[in-house]
């Protein structure tokens, strides 16, 4: 959108007159400038003549601009101070008249208290040069004239084609117009009302279509694959050998991991439970990769969630970015937290392999699973939270959780027990599959971001630097620290008290350490460098010097700026002792003190330990700010999948867990 403030340079005399500013017309491209320069240099004429040439060129530019703005909206300010807006229809030959007059259609008085308001404006207004103070043209689009316009052509060649020419998506074509909600006309059955009933009244779906159609209609089937593909030469003397060899290779291929890709699995003939997806999703619909479509992602996700509220996948699979993820697993993929992961997948589970009778199930469920209802609730609240979290935008935010809620509350009494009862099987299934199929990081995968927050500012898109994690790509703020054991281990796999003790002790970093060598300093599981150097607002020049000096850890360790989520890293090298106190402030005898190069103020941004204190918006702003402030080292570390083992369970509960352990220690 360009705006031209214009008046003829020589139509002088009026106050407030804005001189034609040639800068406005420099946009008319290198071509015209070159022309101008060429003339100037070659002619070597006296100054008077030069200015004459300059004036001539200015006239040309003005003419160009005006000619291209015919039909667009102009605002004409006249000597009295009032301004009129209208459509530019024509203008005079100002080069000859040496004054510019314009004709405007459908004028409207936009600013002019002195004028007689009652007076109706005619359809066409002619503004004479002597009255005009300024002519403004809004939304001047020179690209319309790109044929005679070298700059636009150059731009187009570089691929910066303007929206009119560029790649058109469906929405571009359909134009998003017309068709609002309207009253639908009811279909009225004609003739005798032969009630054929509901389609799904009949539950017996299996029938042999070939047999029935042949018997009833004489339709025989004659399919021959050789009509479609190449013929196998079975008379080949080598055929037997080839067959054996092919059989062997085929077996090998089919036993490979399909890396969680439903399509690959399907083509290998594996039976994957895909009940979370219908055939529309699989064969027809397009799942938008949302890094491009900013609004669509939310809508689509919403649609899918709506559609799939009762979808029930039975396997906790590892999903890679860029892959289709069934809606129920989606929550799982936003969390590193196995608790959320487990619960979001498992609690919704009704396994396909095991279909218990309703009655029987509820009986056993009632007697055995009573104590777990509380845990169930917790899981559900977590689930709900996670579903809350992943939804990007206004429509999504309130409608989906509501739906989920509804579903859950209506189901709770009967299904809660059922669910927890059944979860054991899928859980084991999940573990076996995951051990069988090692996860491979694919550096090519696009990061999975379902709601298109690629570069958006209105949504907190955590900067993704995930040290190592098999399961998910998107890192989000962890919603809650206090995840119950049930949620963590899966509903009925909660270890016994004795086991819990063992687990607790064995995985307790501090106890372990203490056992080995009570005097040794604690290793810190991860480092977080200062995220912000000062709390005093300063100019960005100060904050972002040209060569920012980023404090570097002594041992060249990477810095992790996980957006509110610093996953624990398994460390082999010891950490500098000075850093520990800040991370674990309750260790007696070691008061908090900033290490060298680690300003104290930075610690307050260390999110994982005080997650509930920092509202998402704030974290977002930190994340965004940090982007410009990334030590080169950590940037390079971004794309490198670290081969860290899955974090210990003990680490998952983050600060809270550790703190309580600390108390135990004392």
């Amino acid at each position: 959108m360009s705006q031209i403030k214009n008046a003829r340079p020589n139509s002088s005399g009026t106050s407030g007159h804005r001189r034609s500013n040639s800068r406005n017309f420099n946009g008319s491209g290198p071509g015209s400038n070159r022309k101008y320069n060429g003339k100037e240099e070659s002619s070597q004429k006296p100054a008077v003549q030069q200015s004459k040439v300059a004036a001539q060129n200015n006239d040309d530019r003005l003419l160009f601009a005006l000619a291209h703005s015919i039909g667009s909206k102009v605002i004409v300010t006249v000597g009295s101070g009032s301004s009129y807006s209208g459509m530019l229809v024509s203008f005079n030959d100002f080069a000859a008249d040496s004054e510019l007059s314009v004709i405007v259609k459908y004028p409207e008085l936009i600013d002019g208290s002195q004028e007689n308001d009652a007076e109706e404006l005619p359809e066409t207004l002619v503004f004479k040069a002597k009255d005009i103070v300024a002519v403004e043209i809004e939304q001047l689009d020179f690209s319309k004239a790109h044929n005679s316009y070298p700059a636009a052509i150059a731009e187009a060649a570089e691929g910066n084609t303007d929206s009119k020419k560029a790649f058109k998506t469906d929405t571009d074509i359909s134009g998003k117009s017309q068709s609002k909600e309207r009253e639908l006309q009811k279909w009225v059955p004609e003739g005798p009302d032969t009630d054929l009933g509901n389609l799904e009244d009949d539950t017996h779906a299996n029938w042999d279509q070939f047999e029935v159609n042949e018997r009833k209609f004489g339709v025989k089937s004659t399919y021959d694959e050789n009509l479609y593909t190449t013929r196998i030469n079975r008379d080949d003397p080598d055929y037997e050998r080839k067959l054996v060899e092919a059989e062997r290779i085929a077996k090998e291929i089919e036993s490979q991991s399909y890396n969680g890709n439903i399509h690959v699995a399907e083509e290998r003939g594996l039976v994957v439970d895909d009940s979370g997806i219908d055939e529309e999703d699989k064969y027809s619909g397009v799942l938008r990769d949302d890094d491009n479509s900013q609004n669509k992602g939310g809508e689509l996700l919403l649609g899918m969630l709506k559609k799939n509220v009762k979808a029930q996948p039975s396997e906790l699979k590892q999903y890679k970015a860029g892959r289709y993820v069934p809606p129920n697993h989606r929550a799982a993929n936003f969390h590193h937290d196995p608790a959320v992961l487990q619960s979001s997948a498992i609690t919704q589970d009704t396994s396909k392999t095991k279909k218990p009778k309703e009655g029987q199930d509820s009986k056993t469920g009632d007697s055995k699973e009573q104590p777990k209802t509380k845990a169930q609730k917790e899981i559900e609240s977590l689930k709900e939270f996670s579903s809350n979290l992943k939804l990007p935008k206004k429509p999504a935010e309130d409608s989906v959780p509501k739906e989920k809620n509804k579903q859950e509350t209506s189901k709770t009494p009967s299904s809660a027990s059922k669910v927890s009862d059944e979860s054991s099987k899928p859980a084991t299934a999940a573990t076996t599959t995951s051990t069988k199929k090692p996860f491979k990081m694919n550096p090519n995968t696009a990061s999975f971001s379902p709601m298109g927050f690629g570069g958006q500012t209105d949504f907190h898109a955590p900067h993704r630097i995930i040290p190592a994690s098999g399961t998910s790509q998107g890192s989000f703020t962890r919603p809650k620290r206090n995840i119950s054991q049930q949620a963590f281990f899966g509903a009925n796999r909660v270890p016994t008290v004795a086991k819990q003790k063992i687990l607790k002790d064995n995985f307790n970093l501090f106890l372990e350490k203490h056992r080995k060598d009570p005097k040794a300093p604690f290793e810190k599981p991860f480092v977080t460098p200062p995220t912000w150097e000062t709390t005093i607002e300063e100019s960005y020049r100060v904050l972002f010097p040209i060569n920012p000096e980023i404090p570097m850890m002594p041992d060249n360790r990477m810095f992790f700026y996980g957006g509110g989520q610093t996953s624990p890293i398994h460390n082999t090298s010891p950490l500098p002792q000075q850093l520990i106190p800040r991370m674990i402030p309750m260790i007696p005898g070691q008061g908090p003190s900033g290490g060298p190069g680690v300003p104290q103020t930075g610690s307050q941004h260390f999110v994982p330990y005080q997650p509930q204190l920092i509202p998402p918006q704030m974290m977002m702003s930190h994340n965004q700010q940090r982007r410009g402030y990334m030590p080169p080292l950590s940037q390079s570390g971004m794309g490198v999948p670290m081969m860290a083992p899955p974090p210990f369970p003990g680490h998952y509960n983050g600060g809270k867990h550790m703190r309580s352990d600390n108390k135990d220690l004392r």
Binding site: K168, T169, D170, I173, S174, K176, Q178, S179, E181, L184, W187, P189, E190, G191, D193, T194, L196, G197, N198, W207, Q209, N213, K216, F217, G218, V219, S221, T222, Y223, N226, Y228, T229, T230, I232, Y239, K242, A246, A250, I253, N261, I262, H263, V264, E266, E267, R268, G269, E279, E280, K282, Y283, S284, V286, L287, R288, D289, D291, G322, N442, N444
Partner: protein, 472 residues
């Protein structure tokens, strides 16, 4: 007319009226593309007369070797637009895969392969289909023999490629039909892995192979792939609107329990040449098809949970016109080309605009006329508005009488079928006993008293597939 053209075994001309979607051309002919004689023979014998707009646009560009991203409406000749240039480039004497065509479903792979085979009939080109659901072992054996064009679904192709069973180092053409679906999340990774087996980049930055991407719908997903893998793609967009001109869309606002009744009424009133009825779940597909056969309409069904052998049979027979109605899931929403289909019924309304567009695009193939009827229940109404809006189209309430000129073609005798019996190679005729062909004839109107026809003459050609005996 040149000598060779006279000797062509041309099929009967399909005289049904067509719309501007396929007629609005610049007037080029296939000869003007300077194609190989043998290829031209295949083209004409397939019943093609003039290139459709998309063919006219894309064939010359594709022949120059440029990458193409093209969109054109459903059933306007996209398949031939990429098959013809890739066949033109194939050197039959080189025993290497020279063209890879990826499609999202197995049925579509079969169909595409059949088109390649038909068009390349005189070229001596070996076309192989490789999809899941068939024995991987057989495909491995097939790859021992020469294969020039490989058509398949990405999963199987990747399995073959990653074991070097299918080699793409000399493959100069990479084609994706239904490209938007192929770049959907579940496929995209697989596709990107397949591409790594293609010849590496040329020094100038261009790819050493040509990519042709075709679809009727292009949401934004395609853009990032395009930027990454295509080299200065030539974009063809022949759509100023999304829906086909020849298709009239109606809705019938019913209660869920009225749907069967409504469908029965429709069947009794409509002149169905062939119809496809879409349901939203596999179970409903089976139930509905059962109901229809109970009501004495001959009807097959297909969905993805059936054994592939059954799917293939259904697909093959329905394409051949041996059965009048097909109930299916969205498995057959995209790309499936059955020229005789003039009625599409959405027994269940889809949730995506693309799905809707592709579904209704099963009728009105190649610029012909057809109708699409949507049974809408109370819950679907917002989806209806949404899809109408996204497609910029209007779905009207169904009138009590539907004007026959909107979807009934006078003469359906020459509707192209994929396998005119003359195309069967002699070996197949002997291999498959002749009796199977004799038995195919559908008894006219049996059990279908509701179908009304203007005259029995007109139906005979369509309803009874030409038997082997009649042909020869």
């Amino acid at each position: 007319m040149s000598e060779w053209k006279k000797e062509l075994n041309l099929p009967q001309r399909d005289s049904r009226p067509q719309t501007d979607d396929v007629l609005n051309t610049k007037g080029n002919s296939f000869e003007s593309f300077h194609l190989k004689r043998e290829l031209l023979m295949g083209i004409f014998e397939a019943g093609f007369e003039k290139p459709s707009p998309i063919q006219e646009e894309s064939i010359p560009i594709a022949l120059t070797g440029r990458d193409i991203l093209a969109r054109a409406k459903n059933g306007t000749g996209k398949t031939a637009s990429f098959v013809i240039p890739s066949l033109q480039k194939i050197k039959p004497k080189m025993n290497k895969i020279q063209s890879l065509i990826l499609v999202p479903t197995r049925e579509l792979a079969l169909q595409t392969s059949q088109v390649v085979k038909t068009l390349g009939k005189h070229l001596g080109v070996q076309v192989m289909v490789s999809t899941g659901g068939t024995l991987l072992r057989d495909d491995i054996i097939r790859l021992n023999d020469p294969v020039h064009v490989l058509v398949g679904t990405p999963g199987r192709i990747l399995d073959l490629a990653s074991r070097k069973l299918a080699e793409f180092d000399q493959c100069k053409t990479f084609i994706m039909d239904e490209a938007d679906k192929m770049l959907s999340r579940e496929f995209r990774n697989v596709i990107e892995q397949i591409i790594t087996f293609f010849p590496s980049r040329l020094p100038g930055g261009a790819n050493a192979y040509q990519s042709l991407l075709f679809s009727a719908t292009f949401p934004l997903t395609v853009k990032s792939f395009m930027d990454k893998h295509l080299y200065k793609p030539y974009e063809i967009n022949l759509m100023d609107e999304l829906t086909l001109k020849g298709i009239t869309q109606y809705y019938a606002f019913v209660e869920e329990k009225q749907k069967l009744h409504c469908l029965n009424t429709l069947f009794s009133k409509l002149q169905i040449n062939q119809s496809i009825i879409f349901c939203n779940s596999t179970k409903r597909v089976e139930l509905l098809s059962k109901k229809l056969t109970d009501l004495d309409y001959s009807c097959y069904y297909s969905h993805a949970r059936m054994p592939q052998a059954s799917r293939n049979k259904v697909f093959h027979e329905f394409r051949q016109g041996h059965v009048r109605n097909l109930v299916c899931s969205d498995l057959l929403t995209r790309g499936i080309d059955i020229q005789a289909v003039n009625v599409v019924i959405n027994f269940d309304f889809p949730k995506n605009a693309e799905t809707y567009l592709h579904r209704i695009g099963r009728s009105g193939r190649f610029g012909h006329f057809g109708i699409a009827i949507n049974l809408i229940n109370w819950d679907d109404r917002f989806n209806l508005y949404k899809i109408e809006q996204e497609l910029g189209t209007e779905i009207k309430p169904i009138p009590s009488e539907i004007d026959k000129s909107l979807y009934v073609a006078g003469d359906t005798s020459a509707v192209p079928r994929p396998f005119p019996l003359s195309n069967y190679q002699s070996s197949q005729l002997s291999a498959e006993s002749n009796s199977s062909f004799d038995g195919v004839v559908v008894p006219e109107q049996q059990g279908n008293p509701q179908f009304t026809y203007n005259s029995t003459n007109e139906t005979s050609g369509h309803d009874r597939p030409i038997s082997a005996r009649e042909q020869t």
